[in-house]
Symmetry: C2
Subunit: 151 residues, 2 copies
DNA sequence: CAAAATTTGTTTACAAAGAAACAATCTCCA
DNA sequence: TGGAGATTGTTTCTTTGTAAACAAATTTTG
């Protein structure tokens, strides 16, 4: 009873083990872990890929809109975009109708690269829910989409 | 068609909007946002609360076991525990049978505090899934538990 | 129209978290 | 027994992301 805990599975989490915030954090750590196992060599980080993917499908999108959609803060977006620009993957353009804004576009080389990266990214994504059945995985996705207000 | 995107809901995410990693990140950001709205005044961060909660239910647990269960890396755990110690919330003890290890216990003052914090934390947790029905919320929790290998 | 308020992106300073190297201790086995 | 290897926690350094202050451009409003 009063024996000090020695092993992980003896730990009593009490109600914490049904707290959404806690479960979500564990889930995300697991996903990140697998991401670097499976695709770490392609030297693209998850955040970078999501930015590039959205740029592939929304050429000329404004930095602010991109950030709002991906929930990336302005200060951080500035660094991300500069890094991608330094790698020659994106170009920036100040539009005439609002000279505060910046429009971002993939370079031609990046278009090919991102299409290819999409192949292994979504292959990896499909493999992430392996301990769930296909139906459970669909259900989880649908619930998460509703939870975050997408769809 | 080729009109540049101007507003958030025009953005085309393509398959990204069903990627578990992406949805999970959005979900966690939403949860954190709400955490600081609702309970930010209690100057406890989510990570700190989870550590204190587990200590409440597992007095004298070893730092390594605590870290493994909560998926907190050793280096980070050291800082967390020291911070809690500086706030007078936990005490550290080197057990005789393994002088590398550290056993952590809540101070008496902290016990009361954490029990109280649990009240508002789990109230907040219940309110987090507001745009889901009770059944959907249970389902989401169960799927996440299976996904991360709990239960 | 002109002043005030807002939006957009950048900079600077900082906090959270991880990686790698390290020291101390313990375990295992020849 | 004693030495090789593993475990535990700490330190140091780096990365990732946020907060706050700022400058420039735009919008609002009196």
């Amino acid at each position: 009873m009063d024996m000090p805990i020695r092993t992980t599975d003896e730990v009593n989490l009490d109600r914490l083990d049904t707290a959404l915030g806690f479960l979500m954090r564990l889930a995300q750590l697991k996903i990140y872990e697998r991401f670097f196992e499976e695709v770490g060599d392609h030297n693209l980080k998850p955040g970078e890929f999501s930015v590039l993917w959205v740029l592939l499908h929304n050429p000329g999108i404004r930095q602010s809109v991109l950030g709002q959609r991906l929930m990336i803060k302005r200060a951080h977006m500035t660094k991300l975009i500069r890094s991608l620009e330094d790698q020659g993957l994106v170009s920036r353009r100040i539009p005439d109708d609002d000279r505060r804004a910046v429009e971002i576009t993939l370079t031609p080389a990046a278009v090919t690269m991102v299409e290819q990266a999409g192949d292994w990214f979504f292959t990896y994504e499909d493999s992430v829910g392996e301990n769930l059945s296909a139906a459970e995985r669909r259900q989880l996705t649908a619930l998460l989409r509703k939870f975050v207000g997408l769809g």
